[in-house]
């Protein structure tokens, strides 16, 4: 798992001048955490800057103040990561959620990442909870507090820890014999669970809940919050909740009686999560679809996208039955494959439904044919791609941003699509709504490119706002409008924005009918192989894409006005690591960066000027080939020498330290 600090710190020059934690501390020396070290560096530069008349950024001030308050070298409060190593299918998901939620309820910013195998039961799985008072919610590489429940990986898990990390483990594993620079807490989990229940199957599940009690006690979690979290988790299953609370209490009591606190990690109530929700991106997107007026959902199960449609089915069932008749105001079909899933969506979109599908890489490959049809015949469709690691089957349960380039041009011939790039659960929700509006406005497939990290992991967020804008159905002519116009040509650019008008099947009056074909067609929709008709059509489709530039969500640019010539660009779930990395660069190295977060394709003018205004551009993304960087180079032309890539593609969510290290490396090599 995560290697030690010494390997990953990537701060060789400064670190060498300041005594700090390498592999072991001299006896009696004050133990410094890396974050505290960073502050020292920052303090130094910060002061220098103040002399030069600069004002400190407020985030640095805050971090500084909090750090001062936390001077006690023996404690590291609300800023560390916990990793729970378990066996897939052992019920650990509930325990992990309860622990994470308890911390969240204590007002401490928290994020959870599930690292699971492509397997139903039996293979190793890890869950990482990061508590961070500063609010950084990207993955943190370093593990501070390990809960080793899986005999198979325990040894490797322990070996990968940094010195002074804490380990809670099943007593019989004897992990304390592996290393002597860690803090070990042996716990007889099986025995404790056995005291709560006699049932063998339950015992295994409850052993995981026992760990919540042990860890809760060791980290000073408030037990009332754990109880609340258990009740929330098991909702109406009262008996299960009681049993699980007993297991928590058994662990708690054991720790209280037998384990002397020797590690430095501690949780303390804060007030930074009040009013917030915890949700995964797929559920957020599902809610967006339900409130965005989806009417036809066609999908084929595939990890990591299945939960999007499954969650949506639950919400549709609850909130989208017709009041008078009780009948469904939607239709959901589990298709026979992804070809059919998008085929149904295209058919439904053509007939006027707000139709969507959700898939992942292998499904995207299969959807290429219908994507081209949708583009060429101008039919609205919404496709969610919850990206996983490719090529081919790849790593089905790991995350990546590796489909961007293929989706941008998905299908044969000159094809280009509108892409939305959500970074947060809020955007998964909002962009689901936007996607339907854009698909109907532009009469074309719209791809929402999420990923496994965003889609399946739990994220904190503000509650989603109710959509105030009415639904945009785009340019659809009614029978009355047709009668007034007296004629209708399906593919004529009437308004000069390259978006034609369409009609829906079933429209009376005799003027609405037209023929849709994936073969060459003229403005009236008639079959045509005339060179000029084909050119006209392709040119108008290109112009329509130009129109879309002004409609899609604009990038978010952030700059503190002290830019050092470095411009960072990222998108999707990479955003969180980039934000944290910018802070690291600023605080640790006094390197100020500007940042542009892409939210859609086609790009708009802001991207071009951002690239122009910066000496060096680093595009941060989670794939091997720098796919977005390639698209940006295509877009800006000429000035591409200054566009560099920072890449992360090992299947794990990107972390800030990796970004910082790579950036420094490339800056050094200039």
């Amino acid at each position: 798992m995560a290697p030690s600090y010494a390997v990953t710190s990537g701060l060789p020059c400064l670190w060498s001048t300041i005594p700090g934690p390498k592999t072991a501390n001299p006896p009696g020396a004050m133990r410094l955490s890396p974050s505290r070290l960073c502050l020292k560096i920052d303090l130094y530069h910060g002061l220098k800057k103040e002399k030069g008349g600069f004002k400190l950024a407020s985030t640095i001030e805050t971090a500084y103040a909090e750090e001062i308050a936390d001077r006690n070298p023996e404690s590291q409060v609300n800023d560390f990561s916990i990793q729970v190593a378990t066996v897939n299918g052992s019920g650990s998901q509930s325990s992990n959620t309860v622990l994470m939620r308890s911390i969240f309820q204590m007002g401490i910013p928290v994020s959870g990442k599930n690292l699971f195998p492509s397997n139903i039961a039996g293979l190793p799985t890890w869950f990482t909870i990061r508590a961070c008072k500063h609010g950084w919610i990207a993955r943190k590489k370093e593990i501070d507090f390990l809960v080793a429940m899986n005999p198979e990986t325990a040894r490797e898990d322990v070996l990968s820890l940094a010195p002074d990390a804490a380990v809670v483990y099943e007593e019989s594993l004897k992990l304390d014999q592996i290393r002597n620079d860690l803090i070990f807490y042996p716990v007889p989990f099986a025995k404790l669970a056995g005291e709560v229940t006699k049932e063998a199957k339950l015992k295994r599940l409850l052993a995981n809940m026992v760990y919540v009690g042990v860890v809760g006690r060791l980290l000073s979690v408030e037990i009332e919050e754990v109880r609340k979290a258990v009740l929330k988790q098991f909702k109406t299953k009262v008996k299960a909740a009681e049993l699980n609370i007993s297991a928590v209490e058994a662990g708690w009591a054991y720790a209280e009686k037998n384990l002397q606190k020797r590690d430095r990690f501690r949780l303390e109530r804060m007030n930074r999560t009040a009013g917030k929700i915890i949700i995964d991106g797929n559920s957020a997107a599902a809610i967006g679809c339900v409130f965005g007026g989806v009417t036809v959902v066609c999908w084929y199960p595939i990890t990591p996208s299945s939960s999007l449609c499954e969650t949506m089915i639950d919400y549709l069932h609850r909130y989208r039955s017709d009041k008078e008749t009780g009948k469904a105001t939607y239709a959901v079909v589990q298709a026979e494959d992804e070809l059919a899933a998008l085929g149904m969506v295209i058919g439904a979109g053509w007939a006027g439904a707000r139709a969507m599908t959700s898939t992942s890489g292998p499904g995207i490959s299969l959807m290429a044919e219908f994507s081209g049809l949708g583009y060429f015949t101008e039919i609205p469709a919404v496709v969610f791609d919850i990206q996983r690691v490719g090529p081919s089957t790849g790593l089905p349960t790991r995350t990546s941003q590796g489909d961007i380039l293929s989706i941008a041009f998905l299908s044969h011939g000159d094809t280009k699509h509108i892409l939305l790039l959500p970074s947060s659960v809020e955007e998964c929700y909002q962009m689901a709504i936007d996607a339907f509006d854009l698909a109907e406005r532009f009469q074309t497939p719209v791809f929402v490119c999420s990923d496994l990290d965003l889609g399946m992991n739990n994220w904190m967020a503000d509650p989603f706002p109710y959509p105030e804008k009415p639904i945009d159905r785009g340019k659809v002519l009614t029978a009355e409008q047709l009668a007034k116009l007296g004629k209708f040509e399906r593919y004529r650019d009437v308004d000069g924005d390259a978006i034609p008008y369409r009609t829906l099947p079933g429209t009376p009056g005799g003027l609405a009918a037209y023929f849709t074909r994936g073969s060459g067609h003229n403005e009236r929709g008639q079959y045509s192989e005339r060179p000029q008709d084909y050119r006209n059509l392709m040119d108008r489709l290109a112009r329509k894409y130009e129109t879309a530039r002004k409609w899609v969500p604009a990038p978010v640019v952030s700059s503190n006005g002290r830019a050092s010539g470095i411009g960072l660009i990222s998108y999707g779930s990479s955003h969180w690591a980039v934000e944290e990395s910018r802070h690291q660069l600023s605080v640790e190295r006094n390197i100020e960066t500007d940042y542009l977060r892409l939210r859609a394709l086609p790009f708009n003018e802001q991207l071009r000027s951002f690239v122009k205004e910066h000496e060096r551009i680093y595009v941060v993304e989670q794939n091997r080939d720098g796919q977005m960087a390639s698209l940006i180079k295509l877009e800006v032309g000429g000035d591409t020498g200054k566009i560099h890539s920072i890449l992360h593609y090992d299947g794990l969510p990107i972390d800030a330290r990796s970004v910082t290290d790579q950036l420094l490396q490339q800056e050094k090599g200039r």
Binding site: I278, G347, W350, A355, E369, L504, P505, G510, Q526
Partner: protein, 346 residues
């Protein structure tokens, strides 16, 4: 000059002429079986007085899939991608359950590239009239065998087909299809009655029509030629369609005629010929097709019908009005609903 009454073209019950149901000029070969089928589709819509705007025409790719352009130019049409018409048609049916959907396909489009979608369309009982224009050959790519070509049938170049044929009717019955018929492009009277019955039936109605390819598969060694079909055709029954709006009580002999009542009150009237055959028996239908497969007969008529079947949109309990045009208040839950969801996530 005033038009004389006798010069006025005849109109149907909604005041449209036969020409109002026509489409563009066919670009298929002269004498193509598909054009004969197109004529009967036009005739069936005209006779029943169906409003063209209530109809959608969908197809895949191939000679047969071009034909929706040749009928009902007042209806929306969609010539989609090869073998995938069933999924497109499913989407259309879900978006607007008030439409009458007709899909035209070929033997390559259905039995080879599209067999997966064909199977699942039928399994779901999607409301769609599914017409296979079956000539046993790929016409547009110049004469390769399709998966419905009979074993031993020869190509124009004299090559014998070594593989057994897929019988789409047999497959459909196996999959639970509730309206299965076989016909021949050279038998317009039977075909038009089967089409009308299919227009009224709820669910997937399959009509497999032997439709000779005059260019690539009409030679003496072909089993899908006009001559072969004429020689080997055996009618299951004489079939007539009585629409609900023409209810005249005609006496018929229950011993020789079977009357199948369809859900809207129309009837299919089947006059027995040589066999005592009941198209309401699924087992009987399976046995019959197995027998004729061995005898090599081209058996035509209504092979199986279950007039009580529930179609896919009913199974999904979808609202009666088109999903496509539901107003905002029906497709966006109120603010309280979102608040409730958010509360649960806190």
């Amino acid at each position: 000059m005033p038009t004389l009454e006798k010069d006025k073209p005849k109109t149907n019950r909604i005041g449209l002429t036969l020409a109002d149901y026509k489409g563009a000029e066919s670009t298929l070969c002269n004498g193509c079986g598909h054009d004969a089928i197109t004529s009967q589709i036009i005739r069936a819509f005209y006779d029943l007085g169906i409003e063209p705007h209530r109809v959608t025409k969908v197809s895949g790719i191939g000679c047969s899939s071009k034909t929706p352009n040749y009928f009902l130019n007042r209806s929306h049409g969609f010539n989609s991608v090869h073998g995938r018409m069933p999924s497109v048609a499913t989407g259309v049916a879900l978006a607007n359950r008030t439409l009458l959907n007709i899909g035209v396909t070929g033997d390559g489009d259905t039995a080879s590239i599209g067999i997966g979608q064909f199977v699942h369309l039928i399994r779901r009982n999607v409301p769609l009239v599914y017409v296979i224009e079956n000539n046993g050959v790929y016409g547009l790519t110049k004469g390769q065998f399709s998966a419905t070509a009979d074993r031993g049938s020869k190509s124009k170049a004299g090559v014998s087909n070594p593989l057994p044929a897929i019988d789409c009717c047999q497959l459909a019955i196996e999959l639970g299809c509730s309206y299965v018929a076989r016909s021949f492009a050279g038998d317009p009277k039977q075909l038009v009655a089967l089409l009308k019955g299919a227009f009224v039936h709820r669910g997937t109605s399959l009509i497999d029509v032997v439709s000779p390819c005059v260019t690539f598969n009409n030679h003496p060694d072909s089993t899908k030629s006009y001559d072969y079909a004429k020689e080997h055709e055996e009618l299951l029954h004489e079939i007539g369609f009585v629409p609900y709006f023409e209810q005249v009580t005609v006496d018929y002999d229950e011993g020789t005629t079977q009357d199948v009542r369809l859900h809207d009150g129309s009837h299919l009237r089947l006059k027995k010929l040589h066999r005592d055959y009941d198209p309401m028996s699924r087992q009987g239908a399976m046995r019959l097709l197995e027998e004729t497969r061995e005898s090599g007969e081209l058996l035509t008529g209504l092979i199986y019908i279950d007039p009580t079947s529930a179609d896919f949109t009913s199974l999904l309990n979808v609202v009666d009005e088109p999903l496509a045009t539901l107003p905002l208040e029906k497709v966006r839950p109120p603010k309280e609903a979102l608040n409730e969801i958010m509360e649960e996530l806190r």
